[in-house]
């Protein structure tokens, strides 16, 4: 995707990109390369004994039924989180953008969840949904639902979807709102003068103008669902009960940090990296075409 109107300087762009590139090379590519390289070895955590094993780690990972199970859960979980977070964020942003009284207050309140530290947020959700001491949890139990996410896999998945989507709704809300508020009023006024009704106006005019933001948020939400939800799962269910909430990224963390299987964990990260790169490339290729710049 390139603009038509650009500048001609030859050297300047390199200068502008240089700082970010330098930091990325030193603090990302160099360590990431080492981490990926680790996937070809079997070694003890301290690195005292290493054994080059070619792609044995990968074979072991892909052949593991637990890994395949994790793939299924990840797809379900990510789909739900992305869907819920994007739609809710959009709905709230559109509603808050209207000229109603107290829009500012609503906006501030809806942005708050993003400010809560992840560890604390997870603790809060535990508080609210715990079957014994949680304010909602107790209600659910009393309703006869046998609500118990430490033993019921379905309940556990529902809980982590809610907790993960919750944080992301705030994020989406902020950017959707910023996007909506940068649409010139003149465009909207012109549309209503033309007699376009509310819903029509939204889908035919506002939404396309919002599409750069939507595209960006889709990318970010995918990455969030695949990678950043680790914290939520860790604090709430630790991948249990059984392996009901063990997503791919959680498995990477557990195998790397708790089980200290650095080779296997790196192999899983490489696979995950490739999956998400592919997903993202697909988005850039096919979805960006429909983005209206």
């Amino acid at each position: 995707m390139t603009r038509r109107a650009i500048f001609d300087n030859k050297l300047l762009p390199y200068v502008l990109v240089a700082p970010q590139l330098a930091i990325t090379l030193v603090f990302f590519f160099w360590p990431a390369g080492q981490a990926i390289y680790q996937s070809l070895f079997r070694q003890d955590p301290f690195g005292l004994r290493t054994e080059f094993v070619w792609f044995e780690n990968f074979a072991h990972v892909l052949g593991d039924p637990a890994y395949r199970g994790a793939v299924g859960i990840t797809v379900l979980f990510s789909g739900a989180v992305i869907g819920v977070a994007l739609l809710t964020g959009l709905l709230l942003a559109v509603t808050a953008d209207q000229q109603i009284r107290g829009a500012g207050v609503y906006t501030t309140l809806l942005m708050w969840p993003y400010a809560v530290a992840p560890a604390v947020a997870a603790a809060l959700w535990l508080f609210i949904f715990h079957p014994a001491i949680g304010i909602v949890g107790r209600v659910l139990v009393r309703m006869g639902l046998h609500w118990d996410f430490s033993l019921n896999g379905v309940h556990a998945v529902i809980l982590i979807i809610i907790a993960a989507a919750w944080k992301q709704v705030s994020y989406n809300f902020i950017f959707f709102l910023a996007g909506l508020q940068s649409i010139p009023k003149s465009v909207l006024e012109a549309a209503s003068v033309d007699g376009a009704g509310g819903r029509h106006r939204f889908w035919k005019i506002v939404f396309p103008l919002l599409s750069p933001t939507t595209f960006f948020l889709l990318l970010v939400n995918v990455i969030y669902a695949f990678f950043d939800t680790f914290g939520v799962i860790h604090a709430l269910t630790r991948g249990g009960p059984g392996k009901a909430t063990e997503t791919l990224i959680y498995k990477v963390y557990v195998d790397g940090v708790v089980n200290l299987d650095l080779g296997g964990s790196s192999a899983q990260s490489v696979i995950l990296l490739l999956v998400v790169v592919t997903l993202t490339a697909i988005q850039f290729r096919y979805v960006e075409r429909r983005v209206h710049y």
């Binding site: 500048f7 080492q34 990296l273 993202t280």
Partner: protein
């Protein structure tokens, strides 16, 4: 005008429902910070605030000087968090806006390659590469330093991505007009592009500030002096491990205090949102 009033009512309903659902956990944190530990642990927490607010907040604020608890004073931790958050947010915005400008407004060989290089950083989370990253930082002598805390986190792809998105929407006419006026790219950048990007910068500042504020794993690894602890580390330290007791009410109080600066930032940024809106009317 009847239709308008109906929509207003519906809008309020949606927003109130949204606020209720999404702010509920935050509300519970505030409630939790006003009760004593027993009430919380016994599951008797209600929806109404309790009487222990002052006691809890003073204890949390002074937790550094408590006789049994040798933490770092919340004051100190907040300052550390503030420095980290501000540095990361401004640093990220600064380098990202330049990179995005280059990628969007110039055509040069390796353009998309550089963009992808920057973008792919999002897909290998820090937890996975933490050991080699630590080694790099240690080799550069940056342990226990502010640069060590912040620079590795500054190479953000999110900011670059969103700036790129936004820059691609800038009308060609503006660029042409600038060229005709004889303005060079940097002049265009300062006088036209930056003001146009104000809502985006404001939104990003909020997000990145909070990202920097809530950093846990990296500062934990990089610092060995408790004076450098951030507020989030302090909170997690309080949540404790297996054999420890958890002072939930103090944790909530600290968490609420920890939320205030990001929220203040948000409220400030909101005004910029609005200002940005009026400016783009030009």
């Amino acid at each position: 005008m009847g239709a308008l009033r109906r929509t207003h009512w519906l809008a309020h309903l949606v927003l109130i429902a949204g606020v209720a659902t999404f702010v509920f956990p935050v509300y519970m944190a505030i409630i939790g910070s006003t009760h004593d530990l027993g009430t919380i642990a016994r599951g008797e927490l209600s929806l109404r605030p309790g009487p222990h607010a002052i006691e809890n907040y003073t204890r949390a604020w002074e937790s550094g000087q408590g006789e049994r608890v040798r933490g770092t004073p919340v004051r100190r931790m907040m300052t550390n968090s503030l420095i980290m958050a501000l540095t990361i947010a401004t640093g990220k915005i600064a380098i990202s806006i330049l990179s995005a400008f280059a990628v969007a407004f110039f055509a040069f060989p390796l353009r998309m390659f550089f963009f992808w290089m920057i973008f792919v950083t999002l897909m290998l989370p820090v937890e996975v590469r933490i050991i080699p990253t630590y080694k790099v930082v240690s080799d550069l002598g940056m342990i226990n330093t502010v640069p060590g805390l912040t620079i590795p986190l500054i190479a953000s792809a999110t900011a670059t991505l969103i700036f790129r998105q936004f820059f691609l929407t800038v009308p060609d006419e503006m660029v042409d007009a600038a060229k005709i006026d004889g303005a060079g790219p940097m002049r265009f950048f300062w006088s036209i592009l930056m003001p146009l990007s104000s809502t985006t910068i404001a939104a990003l500042f909020v997000i990145l500030f909070i990202y920097g504020w809530n950093q846990y794993l990296w500062p934990l690894l990089i610092t060995t002096r408790s004076e450098l602890n951030t507020v989030v580390i302090g909170i997690t330290k309080m949540i404790g491990t297996s054999d420890a007791q958890t002072d939930w009410q103090l944790i909530m109080a600290t968490a609420v205090m920890a939320m205030l600066p990001p929220v203040a930032v948000m409220i400030l940024m909101q005004r910029w949102f609005v200002k940005g809106l009026t400016e783009t009317e030009k």
